[in-house]
Symmetry: C2
Subunit: 207 residues, 2 copies
Amino acid sequence: MSRGTKRRSYHHGNLRRALIDAALELVSENGPHGFSMREAARRAGVSSGAPYKHFPDRDALMRAISAEGEQRLLAAMDEEMARAGTEPTARFRAMGIAYVKFAVANPSYFRVMTMPEYLDAEQETTIQGQEDAVHAIISSAQASGAMTADDPRVVSLAAHCLVYGLARLFIDGHLARDGIGPQQAEAVATAVTGVFGRGLVPRKPDQ
Amino acid sequence: MSRGTKRRSYHHGNLRRALIDAALELVSENGPHGFSMREAARRAGVSSGAPYKHFPDRDALMRAISAEGEQRLLAAMDEEMARAGTEPTARFRAMGIAYVKFAVANPSYFRVMTMPEYLDAEQETTIQGQEDAVHAIISSAQASGAMTADDPRVVSLAAHCLVYGLARLFIDGHLARDGIGPQQAEAVATAVTGVFGRGLVPRKPDQ
DNA sequence: AGCACAAAGTAAGCGACGCTTCCATTTGTG
DNA sequence: CACAAATGGAAGCGTCGCTTACTTTGTGCT
């Protein structure tokens, strides 16, 4: 039931979803700061106590958004990587670019997801799994001779820093000062990962 | 006048500073979330209305912290770069490592500084100046043949992403999961910037 | 069908917070 | 030494997170 349409029944129907959507709206309008349980309830057309039937407290709602955003991010990355084929370094790069694209396309989710106070244990294990997948790709690339034999943890960490940092600079508007908007996100991500990737190309005597 | 010592005079002496210090304490204890004007006033031993004689509102206090942190960061970076000598690529790398070291050593300042809502115009121009300095170093390195002829803006951006991302991962505790603590910050920063820097080394035929 | 019960809503209230207003005290200055 | 500016205190407004007590609605069981 969307905002504005008066609900006819005493029960809302899907208040949980409506609250999450309202919260995302508020985050996108006023930043994570500007979200309140009461305002979300107001937008969902229910009393100020109703949200607490679905979320024990404010942080629980934020954590729900964080988890939901993470699922969407993983789905987006899987999709892009399927498109990227099987070559490990191509997959590696596609993963990074997909990350940045997701952040720029879903700033509200990204903002909430990246607040450490809203990470629960389940999400941490998901992240750990994702890190393991990255390590596997790196090892595979190294085994095939397509990548330098650096410590995979260092390569993984550096790549993580790069894409996370880029995403944040976009989200926080630090690039808008330089006239770089969201529509240039993919091009910028491509350029930046290109420079970084060059440091991972082995130097063979014959080239 | 430090917390706990009762002040004897009606006037505090340096309430502005005491409030900033209390705010930093609160941020370090409970995150940026956990700071309130009233609690800061309480810790400074002053009524809840007193802070508003020094800061028009909560955000102004945060902005003051942000600006102060930025000054300290610039000072720390200047110092490290003086130690790094004159070779441009060494200076470039020292700058990045100094950035990460500052963040890890001053997490409360860093947290507040990196909230975009607390950046005022003056600080943005300072940042712009810092970016210009980075561009100058890059151009210098390129001119001397010590760095690839990439678009300096791309190199600068990638480096910024890298160190900012690394600092954030430290501050937000994402690396603690992997057993990486603050005392390893410099080593990790050195490793990560090493991999990145390799992509900026020109490939000459004779090597 | 009818009914007990769980789920999901409302109303009202508590304490904390941001901020304002008005008043009290102190202090630098002519 | 008078006085204005600076600084602090007291009290109050509206909002917020969250709780408690009560009401309404849907559901499963007999």
